[in-house]
């Protein structure tokens, strides 16, 4: 067993072995006491009883009668193989009895003792009581223990064999146990090494619903989240690289053109001013893309706090009312029913701003825009309804793609990001953006689930495993990849997706 000391499996197995050994020893001890011990105590009691009986009879009899009694006792045939009786004279000679010689005299009166003696030429162990009968005469009542010794030997051997077998089983079991643990942990470690060396799509095998299965599941959830974030980061960089190249090229060519063709300071100044405006627009675009990418990918921390959608709706309607007025559009907040929920105030406000922006821009002069906040049992929604031309049904499922613009709106200023931002923000809140035909006009409904304060720290898995559909037109699946204008799809430019479903 290599690395025995540091292996937790070995340590567990060893402590389990020690426990088993303690149990086996206890069991053996009890068994030994209950067999051999009980037998020996029975013999002791018997010796004491016979001795007491003979001593008592000596009080009333004379010595020769005692000798007769002894001879009778020995001759009765009962226990004659094991029984030992001796009457010793003051000089230590055997007066009567079934041993030829007795050597131990220094034993106190009436106590049990064990000694060796010779009987018919054989050395035997004797358990006996020696009683002093007065005048130097002693009585020895005892028993040959040979048989008991044999039994004791048998029991001991049985226990020893049992212990060896138990030890072997424990040792074998420990090795097996350790191998099992090693195998299960080994799988996890191997997978971890593969992931470490770059294959982030690998997942722990989940063998069952035991501790290791659950550990593997937890690790898998963590890996899902990490992979999702990694994809998010990759997605952010890809989109930025792609989407900013076009406007940068435009600014660069404007400046280059000015450098080569402008002949006076005024023309250069104009070119610089144009370029500065272009760069400012670019920065705004950049911030929006970053916001979409951050919210879509879940890279942004979900710092949810209590939000009041009524207040957000009021703020935004009051922010946009002057613009609406200027465009000849009526803007009204018609319904306030916002139940408190948890969310990101700034993101929700900017989502509503984008919706208002969209409606004011496309609904047209004379249109009416109604904003309402509605709530049901488990969600709160902000509804923006206009009676403008709406979005053609064929295009309604594409307008949330980045840079997608409805044909007839291309002449209007805009960058095609507004609804994409709203959809991303909805997804970020585990909600959705529903666009439908208000007949006439567009009905946009931003739905976010109602969260209790306690659930504000929604587990990351909630967003990680939520379907990535940012919004849903009735019964239509969302196209999985936003079309990248101008190609460059090979850069992996697209919505971040989970690489595998989560079990």
């Amino acid at each position: 067993m290599p690395r025995l000391r540091i292996s937790i499996a070995a340590r567990l197995a060893a402590s389990y072995g020690v426990l088993v050994m303690i149990a086996v020893s206890t069991l053996s001890g009890v068994f030994y006491a209950a067999t051999v011990g009980v037998l020996e105590r029975g013999i002791d009691r018997k010796i004491a009883a016979i001795s007491a009986q003979l001593v008592a009879s000596f009080d009333t009899q004379r010595l020769d009668e005692l000798v007769t009694a002894l001879t009778d006792e020995l001759g009765d045939g009962a226990d004659s193989d094991t029984e030992i009786l001796l009457l010793l004279g003051p000089d230590g000679r055997v007066l009567a009895g079934n041993l030829e010689k007795w050597k131990r005299f220094d034993v106190p009166h009436g106590t049990l003792d064990t000694a060796s003696a010779k009987r018919r030429g054989q050395r035997i162990m004797v358990r006996y009581i020696m009683s002093d009968l007065g005048d130097g005469i002693r009585l020895v009542v005892g028993r040959d223990m040979q048989e008991q010794q044999a039994i004791r030997e048998l029991v001991r051997r049985a226990i020893a064999v049992g212990a060896v077998v138990a030890l072997a089983l424990v040792f074998g079991g420990a090795i097996f146990f350790r191998a099992q643990l090693e195998r299960r942990i080994g799988e996890i470690r191997r997978t971890a090494h593969e992931i470490e060396s770059g294959d982030l799509s690998r997942r722990m095998p989940v063998p069952g619903d035991d501790e290791f299965g659950r550990l593997a599941e937890d690790i898998n959830h963590m890996l899902d989240r990490i992979e999702q974030l990694m994809n998010g980061v990759r997605h952010v960089s890809n989109s930025i690289a792609h989407d900013l190249r076009t406007p940068l090229t435009r600014i660069r060519s404007q400046l280059d053109d000015a450098l080569r063709h402008a002949h006076d300071a005024a023309a250069l100044r104009d070119a610089i001013a144009t370029a500065t405006t272009g760069i400012d627009d670019l920065i705004a675009l950049f911030n929006k893309l970053l916001q979409i990418a951050e919210t879509e990918s879940g890279v942004r921390a979900r710092n949810f706090a209590a939000v009041d959608l009524d207040a957000i709706a009021e703020d935004m309607v009051e922010l946009y009312d002057a613009s609406a007025e200027e465009q000849g559009v009526t803007l009204a907040l018609t319904r306030r029913d916002g139940q408190p929920t948890q969310g990101d105030h700034d993101l929700l406000a900017s989502a509503l701003a984008s919706l208002l922006d969209n409606s004011i821009k496309y609904a047209g002069r004379g249109a009416r825009i109604e904003v309402g906040v509605e709530a049901d049992a488990d969600s709160v929604s902000v509804v923006v309804r206009d009676d403008g031309p709406g979005i053609p049904l064929a295009e309604i499922d594409r307008v949330t793609e980045r840079f997608y613009r409805v044909d007839r709106s291309r002449s209007l200023p805009g960058n095609g990001l507004g609804l994409a931002i709203v959809a991303a923000i909805a997804t970020f809140h585990d909600g959705r953006l529903e666009l439908s035909d208000a007949a006439p006009g567009l009905l946009a409904r931003l739905v976010v689930p109602r969260r209790e304060a306690a659930a504000s720290r929604a587990p990351a898995t909630g967003s990680a495993h939520a379907p990535r559909a940012g919004w849903r037109p009735a019964e239509q699946p969302r196209p999985t990849q936003p079309a990248a204008p101008g190609g460059a799809n090979s850069t992996g430019h697209g919505a971040p997706t989970l690489s595998r479903p989560v079990a």
Binding site: N287, E318, L319, A322, S323, E325
Partner: protein
Amino acid sequence: MKCLVIEDDCSTAEYICNGLREAGHAVQLCQSGLEGQSCAVGEDWDVVILDRMLPGGIDGLSIVERMRELDKATPVVVVSALTAIDERVRGLRAGGDDYLSKPFAFSELMARIEALARRAARQPEHRWLRVADLVFDLQARRVTRSGSEIPLQPRELRLLEYLMRHEGQLVTRSMLLEGVWDCHFEPQTNVVNMQISRLRSKLDRGHAPPLIHTVRGAGYRFGPDA
């Protein structure tokens, strides 16, 4: 004003320092976190402009935190390339008074610095705000010009109050969005322009001189003089 600029990027630092000097302020520049920290806590400044990410082991936020620990109330504008909203919140929580994300226009920075300096030297609360013949009764939330009342919606009142409190200063669109509508993002269309022109038409109708002046490419200035 005595301004301390802590910024490691040479061209950004030059841009800020030149602008401040042109506006007539004294400027000292520190280009590392350590130097910046000793300057910021060692001397008295009217305003500190600092970058968040600095070389030298000490970042911008820890400088602000250190200043606040030492009870230095100098207004601090944090300038950073970290734009996410939670980064802004972190910057303000650390003790910054304002947060500006890079890249920015110098006029935006200057406007915010002036607003902060004004706030640091704020006068006790008055019941009235008065600019030329325009009077804002803060308790009754009523506005009169030359004695005649101008009816305004609640949000227009807030916008006007913000402008009057920053009289004579450049006020940028994003300052108004933050201060009046609690809006920490850039809406797509120019909603602030629309709000301002509506307010302007209400204030200036039949009165002279005009009070709200547009500063091209930067923002607005409120006051009787252009």
